[in-house]
Subunit: 71 residues, 5 copies
């Protein structure tokens, strides 16, 4: 048989990156604007950015885990 | 059997991260702007951010739970 | 048999670039605005940009890895 | 048999241009605004733009590679 | 047999114009705003616009190439 082959988990992972990809962009982009406005709190802003990025990134990476969990 | 294989729960999880991913980005990004504007309330802003992030993150993570609940 | 052929992993990869593509655009675009506003912190802004871009880019590139993982 | 024919990789590539297309637009558009605001850093802004554009463009071009990888 | 006929590559090309279409709009629109704000750098802004537009345009045009590559 031919036709479309493959595993739907690849689509699941692709969807799981849409929100986190945009979200990370907003977090890091606003960090840049905030850093330019108050360079003296750049360290704190960077810490917030990394904590926030980790919270968001994990949602995307779990898209791969979901593919392994649900087979 | 060939064709497309896999579990549709992976697509469900992927969709479940779109809103939370963007939402977390807005929350944390606005925290950065607010921290730069009033650095003296940075602690309170960080507390708010973590509470808010937890509320949003759980929506995404429940996408995995949904896959286990509905089989 | 004819009809539509191919591997659904190509659709998965395509979806996996939507969020990161937009997110990278926001990060780098805001870096430009921030650099113009405070040229004296351009170095720090560039460092933040590269760290942020790496966090986002990996989400997209894992879209290819997902196609290899889930077959 | 007739009906719809073709390779789903063409849809995958089409999806792979949505995010990078918008993202490149944001990057280059914000570069223009930033250049107009601080023409004296136009060189640095152009360098940032090209680095950023390369990071984004590759995500789209890999959409063609994905079609060759997953057959 | 009747029903829907045709090649899915036409849908792929259609999708391939969404992002680049919006992206080119952002680039050229922001160029106009920037040119009005600083007419004395209009030449540089035009150069940036053409380089940026070329980077985006190619993503859309490859949507036709994809239809020829993947049959």
């Amino acid at each position: 048989m031919e036709g479309i082959t493959g595993n739907i988990a690849t689509v699941g992972y692709g969807l799981a990156t849409i929100g986190p990809g945009i979200g990370l962009g907003i977090v890091i982009g606003q960090t840049q604007i905030a850093t330019a406005r108050q360079p003296e709190v750049a360290g704190r802003l960077f810490t917030n950015m990394m904590i926030g990025a980790a919270l968001i990134e994990v949602l995307g990476l779990l898209g791969l885990v979901a593919g392994l969990m649900f087979t």
